[in-house]
Symmetry: C2
Subunit: 301 residues, 2 copies
């Protein structure tokens, strides 16, 4: 395996498409159709890897694999929005403030971005900062990534810097451990944590005691942590990147492990489409999260 050839594990790593799926596509659609080494094992040329990356990106936007694989390279390129268009049409906030911030990331100016964000945090206070700056900014970055005007590594840089800001801000919020106690985490395969940090900040500001456990907790550990910390609520976040098929199974299983006295709240783009039930509550927005907290307090009086 050299720079021009990738084995199936490398393709899985680079694209996020599972080995099973790669083999199935080959069987069904005839693409990707990799070379083979002396041992009969797949060796994907770089060109196929590039096409797979593009297909994956378009799938994450809601396109269906069958269509995409059948399409020619030109047709695919057409489906992927052009960078230039995006820049002109997408920044619609009145002040152009978000555009400025995005531009800083785009220029890879980490210190500048951090400073600009700090300024806004100081000026607006935590809650407005989160709701008016961080949340929409995250959405813009998500869109920008989807349509290719942001590189993956630019999105990573944005996420990392923003995580730091939020955590730093949360650390300075008034402590004082009060109720309810809320365990915040994500399930395995879900590594996006920005949304969780936003609600953590808002909850903490409202006087809840937040127990942040980072990402990717096995379900049993989530349950044990909730019991050990005498939590009232377990809050999970799902991004759109999380495989949809798995969500309902995961929730069902976690609900069965968790004592009935502990509420289960879920949020994030990946949770949209599900609806609040006896088993769990869906938080559709940051406002909804705050509303849910208020409601919980009312009910627990």
């Amino acid at each position: 395996m050299n720079a021009l050839h990738f084995n199936i594990a490398a393709v899985e790593r680079e694209t996020g498409l599972s080995k099973d799926v790669l083999r199935m596509w080959e069987r069904r659609y005839g693409f990707p159709l990799p070379d083979r080494d002396t041992n009969g094992e797949r060796l994907y040329p770089a060109a196929q890897l590039d096409r797979l990356r593009l297909i994956k990106r378009l799938m994450d936007q809601g396109h269906r694999p069958g269509k995409l694989i059948a399409a020619s390279n030109e047709e695919l390129a057409q489906l992927a929005p052009r960078h230039a268009e995006y820049r002109q049409t997408s920044f619609t906030d009145s002040t152009g403030e978000l555009a400025e911030l995005l531009a800083l990331i785009k220029q890879h100016d980490a210190p500048g971005y951090q400073q600009a964000m700090q300024q806004r945090l100081a000026r607006q206070g935590f809650q407005h900062f989160v709701q008016d700056i961080v949340a929409p900014l995250t959405e813009h970055v998500g869109e920008a990534w989807e349509n290719g005007s942001f590189e993956v590594f630019e999105e990573h840089l944005f996420t990392e810097l923003t995580k730091r800001l939020l955590r730093q801000a949360i650390a300075t919020l008034p402590g004082g451990s009060r109720s309810p106690r809320i365990v915040l985490t994500t399930v395995p395969d879900e590594q996006h944590v920005l949304g969780l940090l936003m609600v953590e900040g808002l909850f903490a500001l409202e006087g809840a005691e937040c127990i942040p456990l980072g990402t990717q907790m096995p379900l049993r550990e989530i349950s044990r942590a909730a019991v050990a910390h005498q939590a009232d609520i377990v809050a999970l976040s799902f991004s759109t990147a999380f495989p949809r098929r798995q969500i309902s199974g995961v929730l069902e299983q976690l609900r069965q492990m968790l004592p009935t006295s502990i509420a289960l709240w879920i949020g994030g783009q990946g949770a949209a489409g599900h609806s609040t039930s006896e088993d769990f509550r869906v938080l559709h927005s940051l406002d909804d999260a705050l509303y849910s907290l208020a409601k919980w307090r009312e009910n627990s009086k």
Copy 2:
């Protein structure tokens, strides 16, 4: 699938053992031997899942699967160090300072832990704080997790809180962008970032410009980020949890994507056993990291 039965995907999620491995063990060793649903699909009872968790933990300590699977439950329990023993023998630092900090985590006293750590940071300064407190503490927690005296969720809590402290501390370090420029990240499947944060802090303190990209970057994105940021060095971290088999392949591949002018440095427990070559430099400790930085500066004069 209910609370007492887990499908193969759930077992993979909970234990970290791949589906391929689970099926192979069943074929070879006759364990785990799950029930089947009406469709012939595996349904693992909770007892087998528990045994698998234990086996996985012992494997991570260096035991071999063949022996472990052949062993009886009693023998396994014997291999796993007892909690009580550990507590008595392990805290050997002169002051008992680390023991105090560990105890705070063990009591799930997040605010107390944060405060105690802040205090030490303020008292000792960043460098000593990292080298004398954070690094050994992390090691202790790793050991404690290995031998079962720490729950997984306790380790998560420790990691999350410590990450926050380090990031916060890094943010307050004097900025000033100087050379070299160092991109810090991990490859896919490697989510441990604590070691990376420690070196980031030390490097930043020495006046390097650090570009933190978080975890789990596809190799191509690491390479593109390094080029885009005009980095001099790419620093990766590997934990012991990272599958050993994959490391050399990953490094070889990344090295081929990366311009030769950009150095590749790797560190972490998972990197031990590899040795510095033309392709990359191995950082064996935090001291070694600082030494390597000094050396780099000398050579680039």
